[in-house]
């Protein structure tokens, strides 16, 4: 196993215990990550979606990491999912984004909110990769404030018809199915969640958003739904309760993104260790210059402080899973997942920046692996809740609901 990942796995195993089946998921993750390195970098340099991610994850039976084993998945608890994402993060946030959306925002939502018929219909195929999921909350006019969604649905006999536009959707043009949130056209209740078939008439990929700052290897699309028929069997959860579905997905997803960012910091540390000990300037390896050591110390400290923060959020989520009527536990898991994502994404971005500085001029080249992290990691401070939204959420969790500034 890659050394830093191996150290994480050993430590978690020693302190918290990992079963043989869990260790085998993580060994598979390590093998898949090693295989992903070249295609991920090649796609990044060519600024294109890495279509090898689902192929390689599938080959290692990793498409359904958190899906229960009775539906054909690996049945990973959140802690193991976090370790899996940590290893993917070493390869890059493009891989993390694909896996996080398909697994944490997609599969887990169907597992948590779907009825038995929906779970049996979707989850076995999501575990093999025959179903690839996307999550469509954001719209051109609704980002941080999902209350302003414009996508609507009308009831039409035994189906619903959805109309609207979904913006900045990861996996949007490669997914077979997407979780979509829409308000009733007649107004009234809150939004509802649906599992939409992207091959249906009325589903259109308007644009693949390729002109991004980074994250080229992840598909991001602008989608339109025009009178799209969704059978009544694909309503997810209770009509009008779509926000509960959306927010529970984000709770899972934020732990996934935080874990991916831990992996980014690990790779930054690996890269700078190698560079600082081999690059010689002023007669000695640059790692012997104290100002370089300051940057190394920052990356190492950021990594160590975020690693257990992410594991703690995952453990809290696992604790809540065992007692799902306990709302106080849910609140704690929600708060910790926001703290973990907020700290890890900022620390990973700053670590990538400092790693780039250690690499000097080569660090500024598109061919530098740390420059890739620098470009790819920035988005983690935006998607699944911006820095500012995380700050508001964390502050109100301390001050009380009456202080929720975004209400």
């Amino acid at each position: 196993m890659e050394a830093l990942f191996d150290a994480s796995v050993q430590e978690v195993s020693r302190l918290l215990g990992l079963t043989d089946a869990e260790k085998s998921v993580l060994e598979d993750a390590d093998a898949a990550a090693s295989e992903l390195v070249t295609s991920e970098f090649e796609s990044y340099v060519q600024r294109k979606y890495n279509d090898q991610v689902p192929v390689i994850l599938r080959r290692h039976n990793l498409m359904g990491v958190p899906i229960a084993s009775k539906y054909g998945g690996r049945g990973a608890r959140q802690l193991v999912q976090a370790l899996f994402m940590e290893r993917m993060g070493q390869v890059g946030m493009g891989v993390v984004t694909f896996a996080d959306v398909h697994q944490c925002l997609g599969s887990l939502v169907i597992q948590d909110w779907g009825n038995e018929e929906q779970r049996s219909r979707y989850l076995p195929r999501a575990a093999t990769g025959d179903v690839v999921l996307a999550y469509g909350l954001t719209e051109p006019e609704a980002g941080s404030d999902p209350g302003s969604l414009k996508t609507t649905f009308v009831r039409d006999g035994s189906s619903y018809r959805l109309t609207g536009s979904k913006y900045l959707i990861s996996n949007g043009s490669v997914a077979t199915n997407m979780i979509v949130f829409a308000y009733p056209a007649e107004g009234g209740k809150g939004p509802s969640a649906f599992v939409v078939d992207t091959k249906q008439k009325g589903f259109e990929v308007d644009m693949r958003l390729e002109e991004k700052v980074g994250l080229f290897t992840s598909d991001t699309s602008l989608l339109s739904l025009t009178d799209l028929a969704v059978p009544k069997e694909d309503l997810l959860g209770v009509e009008g309760k779509g926000f509960s579905v959306a927010y529970s997905a984000l709770l899972n997803g934020r732990i996934g993104i935080g874990s991916g960012c831990v992996g980014v910091m690990e790779d930054c540390l690996n890269q700078v260790r190698e560079r600082a000990t081999s690059r010689v300037q002023h007669g000695k390896p640059i790692g012997k210059h104290q100002l370089i050591q300051k940057q190394v110390a920052f990356i190492e400290s950021s990594l160590e402080s975020c690693r257990w923060l992410v594991y703690r959020a995952a453990l809290k989520k696992d604790e809540y899973e065992k007692d799902i009527s306990n709302l106080a536990l849910r609140g704690e898991a929600d708060r910790l997942s926001a703290v973990a994502k907020y700290m890890s994404s900022r620390s990973a971005f700053e670590s990538a920046d400092r790693a780039l500085q250690i690499f000097g001029g080569f660090g500024y080249s598109i061919m530098s692996p740390v420059a890739k992290h620098f470009l790819d990691t920035r988005v983690a401070r935006i998607y699944e809740g911006t820095d500012e939204i995380m700050e508001l959420k964390i502050a109100s969790s301390v001050l009380g609901r009456e202080f929720e500034a975004y209400r």
Partner: protein, 149 residues
């Protein structure tokens, strides 16, 4: 920056002919992929310009390859030095043969890379180098098997 690679290949040929071809510069010269301007200097050394591709960027390296030690009929060492496109590399590699028809060739290589290419880091270079090395050994295996027919 240091890089270690190892692996093994199975070659459907008698071990004596595998050994003599693997230590023969004139034969090795015919198996180098993407090579230009190949000069066999003597029985055990050659020079060539090879194209190295990482992602979409390819650069040219002038290499010198020499068989440095032989312990027939099973072991030998090769040294490769390369310079070009702002990069330098020194590779020391060795192989060990066992069995015969098929002959198992266990090999390993330690590379020391400096200059521009070193900036890519060992994680990435290992990924690309493993592919390239697999391609080289596939070529060698095929060529030996052709000769043995």
């Amino acid at each position: 920056m240091q890089l270690h690679l190892d692996g093994s290949n199975s070659i459907m040929a008698p071990s004596e002919s595998v050994y003599s071809l693997l230590t023969d510069a004139a034969f090795l010269a015919t198996t180098l992929p993407d090579a230009e301007d190949v000069h066999v200097l003597d029985k055990t050394s050659l020079e060539a310009t090879i194209k190295v591709r990482v992602a979409v960027v390819s650069s040219k390296l002038r290499i010198k390859m020499a068989v440095t030690a032989t312990q027939p009929p099973t072991n030998a060492s090769l040294a490769v030095t390369g310079t070009g496109s702002g990069s330098n590399m020194q590779i020391s590699s060795s192989f060990e043969l066992s069995g015969s028809s098929p002959t198992t060739m266990k090999w390993m290589a330690d590379a020391d890379i400096t200059g521009v290419m070193a900036g890519l880091g060992s994680t990435l270079l290992k990924g690309f180098a493993s592919k390239k090395v697999a391609e080289i050994f596939e070529g060698i295996t095929k060529a030996i098997e052709e000769r043995a027919k």
